[in-house]
Amino acid sequence: MIEPVSTQGEKTDEIVKNVKFKVLRFDRDTIPSPRVDSFDVPVKKGMTVLDALQYIKENLDSTLSWRFSCRMGVCGSCGMFINGFPRLACNTQVLELEADVVDLKPLPNFDTIKDLVPDLAVLFEKHRSVRPFTLRKDIAELDNPSGEFFQTTDELQRYLQFAYCIKCGLCMAACPTVATDRRYLGPQALTQAHRYNMDSRDEGRDERKDEALGTHGVFRCHFAGACSEACPKGVDPAFAIQLMKRDALKASFGLLRKKKAAPLAPKVTSGKRMEGVPDAPKRTV
């Protein structure tokens, strides 16, 4: 787990130490057999691994490749294997690693496109396969919404945590089953199946079961727990998977309660809108 590092009130532009970055290099065409390149990076307080890579690209080797976008732990692009642990480069400060040598490798359990760039396409395919969206029988209402579906705060809590997933794939890199089983949906997709199964507005549990409870679904998980340790967003995928197993066992004995999709929330008919609050914008779809 990542512990918070406080740099508040401290001078941050001073170089604290030089750290050697050992970066795995691979390219299908130019570096077909991977090699390790070393770079010395002067590290300042608060500098992230992403910053260090930027420094290397600007000053030492412009051919180095990695993927990033948001640089603030939101987009899920920059997952890599940092000192033997899957982390987000932008969410990991170099000094927090407490090491003079930092090993950078592409995320394991994914194909490598180049250097530190994993091919996350399989992750998105698996994610898609569990139908990660609200499935309901009232198609007409979905196509042409007339209001909001009712949901209590308690109902929200049952899935909110699992909705924080940024599809970074760190959990997949940590999972021992993903290491060998190509067809295993893995912690990311299974957690999303659970996230929608638990949503009070959804009634697609049975439409997801063939994937989620299939031969390469939740039962390939043996609670090694590494996914939850690696997840940078506190999604706790192992938790979602065990909860889904519990529901599966209940269903085996006919004990799983039937789910009725949340109804439309009652229209507000009385009361007055506050002064200065404009009308909702016109629908675009």
Partner: protein
């Protein structure tokens, strides 16, 4: 929310719980009863073994344990093999082979436990 796999897995878990109780008793008798002084003498003496075989309670317990442990163990093995990225065809073949192995081992074990029983009863 039921699938074939979820049913198989449920039985794996239930079998684990059954084994825990029955194998617990078995282990207690074979390794710890002497220690606690509840059983005297050598539990592996032929007469002692036969005495248990002929006791209906023990015989039933053994056969149930045999079935549960075979199911649990072979499903566990199937789990492990299925995680090796084999083809769906190979998965089906493995499943069939494991069922056949399970049935064969069950027959051997059940015969070993019950044959003495029926022979004695017939006398």
């Amino acid at each position: 929310m039921r699938t074939r796999e979820s049913t198989l897995w449920t039985w794996h878990l239930v079998a684990g719980a059954v084994i825990l109780v029955l194998l617990g008793i078995h282990m207690f008798i074979m390794h710890l009863a002497d220690f606690f002084g509840t059983v005297q003498g050598d539990v592996l003496e032929f007469s002692s073994v036969m005495e248990r075989s002929l006791d209906a309670t023990f015989a039933v317990m053994y056969v149930v344990l045999l079935a549960a442990a075979l199911y649990h163990g072979l499903y566990g093995l199937r789990n492990i093999i299925f995680e090796l990225s084999i083809s769906e065809r190979a998965e089906r073949v493995i499943s069939v082979l494991l069922v056949l192995a399970g049935v064969a081992l069950f027959l051997v074990g059940a015969y070993g436990t019950l044959a003495v029983h029926s022979a004695q009863a017939g006398v």
